[in-house]
Amino acid sequence: MAVKSIISRPVYGTLSPQPGSDHLLIADAEGAAAILDLAKSTPDGFFAGAEIVFIPRGTGDKYTAALKALKPARWYEGPSIAAALPRLKQRLATAHMGLRLYLAGTEGLIGQAMQAALEVGIDHSSIQTEQRGSLARRMQCVHCKGITEDVTTQPARCSHCGLMLLVRDHYSRRIAAFQGVCINAEDPSQVPPMEEMFK
């Protein structure tokens, strides 16, 4: 469960069914379990008007059968978030008002899918989100602007410019990443030990 710290750190909820008849559910890894939990309270016909996009990551086929059994109108299983994005953007570009989004799983998935949604004018507060599974972070280095994926340590090294960064809780929806700031600017010879923090 993601812990609430500062106000810009996103707070995720629990997926709940929204009105309308066009539902797009996107999940990675353990996020599938959130969709299965949601299904316990959806009205009849909910999934007949729904599309499920699933990226199993390390969970193999643990959740696939159960998700397919919901009989969504459309089903896609992909190897990674990056691979799924072009399809998602196309879907959003041609969608109509009334489409509702449900995002579940890692913050990286939630953040990147939300970014694609914001770009077509969907307001973030209408998007349902639920965090499940790994708490590894996407981090933007404030110095070189490069994004480092799957950060689990505090501090963490920028994979682009090499600076050692404090991984802050300050989060940008627009960039879909946490902010990393040089942790040893005042004395670059001091390199604090990296501890596993975001699992």
Partner: protein, 346 residues
């Protein structure tokens, strides 16, 4: 008459300093001997002649040098000036506001003539003479916000008002105290203030948002904020933190007077007419300790404020490393006498 513009630097050799008149007009932010956050907002109306409040948009002797430093920052990092697509109209609103206020307050330096949408702007200190069509992007060398803020002192945040909140959807930030426009653009009022300690629990931001959201055309408001900087560096951005952060370790008892600067931000809040957006100009004023202690009252008061500042505030404002050295230095100027109430130097 006009202003005697200085030729000085805010980086490298740091030749910045204040003339005696500018020391006296410095917006000292402490009206009592201790400091805690408050929603210290008041109407932004013209103040005493010669003060930083005489004109609602203040141009001072550092204008030309500050604009030169801004141009250098933008050349190194264009992401310091951004405007989300829906904010262009607000950018035109800001252009009108700054041109009219600067021309009104300093007619010897700026002129604006308007014939319908055909405008003619002259900026003598920067040597600019620009004819353009108001509302037509192709007639200016930059977008309207960037065009005019390259000619106005201070940072500017333009906020879209919607869903009961204010959203930082455009801005130019080259003189700020340690936050990143590129990271924060798109955030709402509570989100971009998230890193500020203590204030959230006190409900300060909720009250401030309510007040600011109801500011109407023709009735701007203002408040003061403060921090400290080592060397008169305007660009103390997180982007360059690894370059200026080390400055904080270079303070010695001998160089406090020259290196340590009080940095005051005069923030104002204006409603923009065509876009219904809000603009927050953040005007930065710097004074080194040697200059500040020429006022006995300010010396005493600053000593007490910094000495007694709560730990979280000192950390957030970046004072931790040199606070002891600074307090010891200021103590020499504090004879324990009473300070008069109010901000003035006496």
């Amino acid at each position: 008459m006009g202003i005697n513009f200085r030729d000085e630097t805010f980086r490298d050799d740091f030749t910045f300093s204040n003339s005696p008149e500018h020391i006296r007009r410095f917006p000292f932010p402490f009206h009592e001997d201790s400091y805690m956050y408050a929603v210290n907002i008041e109407p932004h109306v013209p103040g005493p002649k010669g003060s930083v409040l005489e004109n609602l948009i203040d141009v001072d002797e550092h204008y030309v040098s500050e604009m030169r430093d801004r141009a250098l920052v933008l050349a190194e990092d264009p992401l310091r000036c951004q405007s989300l697509p829906h904010m262009t109209l607000a950018g035109w609103d800001l252009l009108e506001l700054l041109m009219t206020e600067q021309a009104k307050g300093y007619p010897e330096h700026f002129s604006l003539t308007r014939d319908g949408d055909n405008w003619h702007w002259i900026n003598r200190p920067l040597g600019l003479d620009q004819k353009f069509v108001f509302g037509d992007l192709t007639t200016l060398p930059y977008g309207p916000m960037e065009y005019i803020t390259r000619q106005s002192q201070g940072d500017f945040c333009i906020l879209d008002q919607r869903d009961g909140n204010l959203w930082m959807d455009a801005g130019i930030v080259t003189t700020q105290a340690d936050w990143s426009l590129d990271f924060d653009i798109g955030m709402n009022f509570f989100e971009w203030h998230a890193p500020v300690p203590l204030a959230h629990e006190k409900g300060i931001f909720t009250r401030a948002l309510k007040f600011l959201s109801n500011i109407q055309q023709g009735k701007p408001a203002r408040r003061l904020n403060w921090t400290m900087t080592i060397n008169p560096r305007l660009d103390t951005s997180p982007e360059n933190y690894h370059k200026w952060g080390p400055d904080r370790t270079t303070v010695t008892p001998e160089n406090v007077g020259q290196k340590v600067h009080l940095r005051v931000e005069l923030q104002s809040f204006w409603r923009l007419p065509r876009s219904n957006a809000m603009v927050f100009p953040i005007r930065c004023y710097l004074i080194k300790m040697d200059e500040l202690v020429t006022s006995k009252k300010w010396a005493r008061r600053l000593h007490r404020v910094i000495r007694d500042l709560p730990e979280e505030l000192a950390t957030y404002k970046g004072l931790t490393l040199y606070r002891p050295t600074l307090v010891e230095w200021l103590a020499r100027y504090d004879d324990g006498a009473e300070t008069s109430p109010g901000f003035g130097p006496d």
